[in-house]
């Protein structure tokens, strides 16, 4: 009896200890977030001790590495947005079309073959896309557009679009797949073609899911680093011209990281201020995407 109760006591203690360890594992994710926000806030605070926030938001030049320093994040934001825009122009139509094709038209055998191949695109390291943008797509585009510079926004934008295409395609497909069959069958019974069912029933019903995918794709595009670091050049420029070299927020962080920047210098702090800007943008987009997805879940 006594041995049994002792064993039970010991077991209860082990159970408690294990549960605590497992809880700590889960809590680490919260600590990670606190770490990210803490590090970014701390260095950004130091940054704004030296640079006025008004200059940061309104100056049109970004030259923290020059003697004549300007800290206008606008020119990095312009580059980031331009490339994300080009990427979305590629990824959205192609992604949604291929989702419609795979969901509504393709025989299941074709679907089963093509889907994993498209997924392969999502698993390729981004540095590989960078190589491809700089050494294959740019020379190819230059044969059509002679005044395209060796570093530009167009090639990395297009390649980034292909990179995020699998995400747009598979998330849109999930959304289309969860449209109840009865809705589609109702439309078919009224004599609609597959095209009409796809455009008038499936896409509208799955719209918030598709939009959620699109917003998430924008977030991925503005956070993407290697393609733009390799193929877009490193010249911050307030422009919407896709043919000239420019720089994104992420590429700037890489540019500074490659050099030897001592802690505490203003150059060191700028990458955290730039990182903070990037973090806020992606966080807002991610939350917006989740909100859209939740909304659509409630409908059925």
């Amino acid at each position: 009896m006594i041995a049994a109760s002792k064993r039970r006591k010991k077991q209860r203690m082990t159970e408690g200890a294990i549960q605590t360890i497992l809880f700590l594992c889960a809590a680490l994710s919260v600590i990670t977030t606190i770490g990210i926000v803490g590090v970014l806030l701390f260095e950004t605070w130091g940054f704004f001790q030296e640079v006025s926030i008004i200059d940061f938001l309104t100056d049109t030049q970004w030259t923290p590495l020059f003697v004549d320093k300007h800290f206008g994040i606008m020119s990095l934001l312009a580059g980031t947005c331009l490339i994300a825009l080009i990427a979305m122009c590629v990824a959205l139509p192609l992604g949604i079309m291929s989702a419609i094709y795979l969901n509504e038209y393709a025989p299941s055998r074709v679907r089963e073959t093509i889907k994993p191949i498209i997924e392969v695109l999502a698993g390729i390291p981004t540095v590989v896309y960078g190589y491809f943008a700089l050494l294959f797509v740019t020379p190819l585009l230059q044969s059509f557009i002679p005044n395209l510079s060796g570093f530009n926004a167009l090639a990395p934008g297009i390649v980034m679009g292909i990179m995020i295409l699998p995400m747009v395609s598979s998330l849109s497909e999930d959304a289309m797949h969860s449209v109840p069959d009865s809705l589609k069958e109702g439309a078919y019974a009224l004599g609609a073609t597959r095209f009409q069912v796809a455009t008038s029933v499936v896409v509208p019903a799955a719209l918030s899911g598709i939009m959620s995918a699109a917003v998430l794709a924008v977030s991925r595009a503005i956070g993407e680093t290697m393609i733009v670091s390799i193929a877009a050049g490193q010249q911050p420029r307030l422009t919407m011209n896709p043919l000239v070299p420019l720089e994104t927020i992420t590429a700037f962080i890489v540019q500074v990281s490659l050099g030897d920047t001592p802690t505490g210098t203003i150059e060191y702090k700028t990458i955290f201020a730039a990182g903070m800007t990037l973090f806020i943008f992606t966080l807002v987009l991610n939350l917006f995407s989740q909100w859209l997805k939740e909304r659509y879940r409630e409908e059925y």
């Binding site: 082990t14 159970e15 549960q19 497992l22 809880f23 594992c25 889960a26 680490l28 994710s29 990670t32 977030t33 770490g35 990210i36 590090v39 970014l40 139509p93 192609l94 079309m97 291929s98 094709y101 795979l102 093509i114 191949i117 498209i118 695109l121 698993g123 390729i124 390291p125 981004t126 540095v127 590989v128 491809f132 700089l134 050494l135 294959f136 292909i162 699998p166 073609t193 597959r194 095209f195 009409q196 796809a198 991925r220 956070g223 993407e224 680093t225 290697m226 390799i230 992420t250 962080i253 890489v254 990281s257 990458i271 955290f272 990182g275 973090f279 992606t282 966080l283 991610n286 989740q290």
Partner: protein, 285 residues
């Protein structure tokens, strides 16, 4: 033309356009592979694999980068697997439905969407500057661990959720405790799914460049790392360095190194697919 004919024509036209849209992705992938093989396959030989980096492209090799990549992969797996699976088990099997659990869940979903370069800044601020681990393998592995933890947690939870609850109830009915049930009954069944997710996460980790650049990983290493505190380089870093140079010889080296990197990720992905296949077979109850 009647309206019916018009509708049918629109349907057919749309089908063609949609097939073309799908084909763009496939053509792109084919062009990428062919371009890489055309540029780099001829460069891969034994001396390329076993040489250290050099200023002359024809004599440079990737042994330091390969060693660094395998070190990173091993260390990251060592840290990320137990923590990720532990967190997954907690959230799926133990956690009560309260506000704190909800916070952890929302938090993990958001962490999965944080750009990888931000994790690099975290690693720079915490591991390099605060803990003074410098540009060591340990810093790299810890940074990559934080980066892939959300993926491992999410796939672990999915794998655990797929285990039928009857299994748990049967185990409880025999007097097993919660941990005994989880460890001896639920985990073995969920393990192939968990391993699949972990391997896919690792294959993502070894392809990551941005966070390693942000923590300041070196590109020129003329020795092999021997402990976790040694400085390192990795395949993606080496590729990035070579791509950034103007000489044609380095571009060829980059293509060759990319082929090696893709082969490693391909092997990892094949293992994951094999495990998933076995998982499907065993899941007949």
């Amino acid at each position: 033309m009647t309206r019916l004919e018009r509708n049918k024509l629109a349907d057919k036209l749309f089908k063609v356009v949609a097939i073309c849209a799908t084909a763009v992705a496939l053509v792109f992938l084919a062009a990428l592979v062919i371009d890489l093989i055309y540029d780099g396959a001829g460069r891969i030989d034994w001396s390329f694999i076993t040489s250290f980096p050099s200023r002359r492209p024809a004599r440079a090799g990737i042994i330091a980068a390969i060693a660094g990549t395998f070190w990173l992969m091993g260390l990251t797996a060592l840290f990320a697997f137990p923590i990720g699976v532990g967190a997954g088990i907690y959230l799926e099997e133990y956690a009560k439905k309260n506000t704190f659990t909800k916070i952890i869940e929302v938090n993990i979903a958001n962490l999965a969407g944080v750009p990888s370069i931000i994790y690099g800044l975290l690693g720079l601020g915490i591991f390099v500057r605060t803990f003074r681990l410098d540009q060591s393998l340990l810093t790299g592995a810890l940074t990559l661990t934080l980066l892939i933890l959300p993926i491992i947690i999410i796939t672990t939870r999915e794998a655990l959720r797929a285990v039928p609850s009857g299994l748990r109830q049967a185990s409880y009915a025999l007097g097993a405790s919660q941990w005994q049930t989880t460890y001896s009954q639920v985990l073995p069944v969920a393990m192939p799914g968990i391993l699949t997710g972990t391997i896919l996460a690792l294959s993502r980790a070894i392809g990551e460049t941005a966070p390693l650049v942000a923590i300041g990983a070196l590109t020129y290493i003329a020795f092999l790392p021997e402990s976790v505190m040694d400085p390192f380089t990795a395949l993606p870093i080496q590729i990035f360095n070579w791509v950034s140079r103007p000489q044609k010889g380095f571009a060829i080296n980059a293509a060759a190194a990319i082929i090696v990197l893709l082969c490693i990720t391909l092997v990892l992905n094949s293992i994951a697919i094999y495990l998933r296949h076995r998982f499907k077979k065993r899941m007949r109850w």
